[in-house]
């Protein structure tokens, strides 16, 4: 593993640390011949928080964090489903460096009192950043434990004062054919769209992640900001979000549009409702040899089961 979990940083350390990190970035970029640093302008202190490897501390610890063993930084950043960069799990880590995450804005609109467009820098300042160690369960029956950094999505959503008529939230992600080779193929309809019910979106577990392992989120994991909804299959957690829209109709997500019988709107982790083509009863935790049993709501039932009381979860899969 390359990167260790960060030690707590005292505020007076931040400036020299950032300078040091940007210098290291420059050397690394030059060494890899990546050219990314040159395309995005030479790294300076001003955008120190935009580069991979930059620390995001100090972070608030969260009671929602699990104490399970973390997956390696290496595994989390090299085994990704991010079809905009290719359908192979190693494609995103190879191709995502071409995406530019600064400047970045997210527009929050639809059924709201005050539609707004926020820059990523503003989003980072909305609330103290928290570390949330969550289980991630992919619909393909593998799982990881990931130390995300982010802020509750509800903090972001409250900025625009949603109207009473808003029932759902739709997330649209970046689709740039120039930097995302996967967008040039019609494997899904682009841009990638996901959606949540308003109460799911406002739930305290639902996170807008901006970092990983205490550092700025790597591009292949959905930089600069991505959703993390830990009780749902991974594809619900849309990456590289550019638009959030409040609606009164259930959004049609990219996967539901592509194969609605296999990927429903809710897509809650549920060991009793199999994917039509494979079992969801067990999962392989990355790094482990034998499979483990999948938990209802990915183990977050205590917090979220009440959202679905009275619903037939076989019907609303």
């Amino acid at each position: 593993m390359l990167i260790k979990r960060p030690a707590d940083i005292v505020p007076s350390d931040i400036t020299p640390r950032a300078l040091f990190d940007t210098r290291r970035d420059f050397i690394r970029a030059a060494g890899l011949g990546a050219g990314a640093a040159l395309l995005g302008g030479l790294p300076g202190v001003a955008d120190a928080q935009g580069k991979r490897g930059d620390k995001l501390g100090p972070l608030v610890k969260s009671p929602f964090s699990t104490d399970e063993k973390l997956n390696d930084y290496e595994d989390i950043t090299s085994y990704c489903n991010f079809y905009e960069f290719g359908t192979d799990k190693s494609d995103p880590s190879k191709n995502a460096h071409r995406m530019s995450t600064r400047p970045w804005t997210v527009s929050i609109e639809g059924l709201v009192q005050k539609p707004r467009t926020l820059g990523i820098e503003e989003v980072l300042k909305l609330a103290p950043l928290e570390e949330r160690i969550y289980r991630l369960r992919c619909v393909e029956a593998w799982s990881m434990v990931v130390p995300w950094v982010g802020l509750p999505l509800s903090v972001l959503l409250r900025q625009v004062e949603p109207l009473g008529s808003a029932k759902y939230v739709e997330f649209t992600t970046l689709a740039d054919p120039k930097t995302m080779p996967g967008v040039r193929s019609a494997v899904l309809e682009w841009p990638y769209v996901e959606g949540l019910r308003l109460d799911e979106a406002m739930h305290p577990l639902t996170l807008m992640a901006v970092g990983l392992y205490g550092e700025v989120l790597p591009n292949q994991n959905g930089a600069p900001m991505r959703l993390v909804v830990p009780w749902k299959y991974g594809f619900k957690s849309a990456k590289s979000i550019v638009k959030i829209r409040f609606t009164d109709k259930e959004p049609l997500s990219a996967w539901s549009r592509a194969a609605g019988r296999e990927y429903g709107f809710y897509s809650n982790v549920n060991p009793d409702v199999d994917h039509p083509r494979w079992s969801q009863g067990r999962e392989r935790r990355i790094g482990e040899f034998s499979k483990r049993k999948t938990l209802m709501f990915n183990g977050y039932g205590d917090q979220v089961a009440s959202l679905y009381t009275g619903m037939d979860l076989r019907k609303y899969y």
Binding site: N71, E74, D75, S78, Y79, Y83, T87, K89, S90, E140, W142, V187, L188, A258, A259, D274, R277, W278, S279, R284, I286, G287, F289, S290, K291
Partner: protein, 223 residues
């Protein structure tokens, strides 16, 4: 069967086709034999040196499946290739290629039974019944069993060439089931299954085209 094909082939092609001498053929045979072991060696080395990525078991499952399908298609390509090039000696490599396809299919199945299901019989039976792509893959493997079992010279003699050939037509079914198995399991990106399906269809088309040409040729000779 080689003799039958060469006497019936249109004249002027097979007569001039290149044929390796016995020593060269022996070397060719050894090279192919070793080449077919490279994917396994690579997997073994990758597992040892931790090069198989975050999910090595998935990697092994996919690699053994890929190589089963590739070797099946290579085996199925022998006859069309012979027909097009007149290289009838290729048929002497076919048994080895077919057995390697069976070998990788066995590894693929073993990976599933052991590393994926841990020999949980109940789970395996449920999977085979409930999941169409597993049903198809398992069916394809069962069809390969009699082919592998009758691959020896003794078995060919015992069955008689004609019955043996008829039995081994099953390999076409295995090829189709193999591609369908892959087609059905991918989440969304069908690029590779489509590629395999196209190769399979091309091989069938060459066979049909050749059979047609042969019929026309025979008809022209008899009238």
């Amino acid at each position: 069967m080689q003799a039958r094909a060469s006497t019936a082939a249109p004249p002027g092609r097979s007569a001039r086709a290149w044929t390796p001498g016995p020593a060269v053929f022996r070397w060719l045979w050894r090279i192919v034999w070793l080449a077919c072991l490279v994917p396994l060696a690579w997997l073994a080395f990758g597992a040892y040196a931790d090069l198989l990525g975050a999910n090595p078991i998935e990697h092994i499952t996919r690699a053994t499946g890929d190589w089963t399908l590739r070797l099946l298609l290579v085996t199925l390509a022998v006859t069309p290739l012979r027909q097009v090039t007149g290289w009838h000696w290729l048929v002497r490599l076919r048994r080895m290629l077919g057995l390697y396809a069976f070998f990788y299919a066995s590894l693929h199945l073993l990976t599933y039974l052991w590393l994926d299901q841990f020999f949980d019989i109940e789970g395996i039976v449920k999977d085979i019944i409930k999941r169409p792509f597993i049903t198809i893959g398992f069916g394809a493997f069962l069809l390969l069993l009699p082919l592998a079992a009758t691959s020896t010279n003794g078995m060919v003699r015992r069955l008689g060439g004609r019955a043996w050939q008829r039995l081994h037509k099953l390999v076409y079914v295995v090829g189709i089931l193999g591609v369908a198995h892959y087609w059905w399991l991918v989440k969304k990106d069908l690029t590779e299954p489509i590629l395999y399906a196209c190769i399979l269809a091309t091989l069938f088309a060459v066979r049909l085209w050749h059979a047609r040409r042969l019929r026309a040729h025979v008809a022209a000779q008899t009238t």
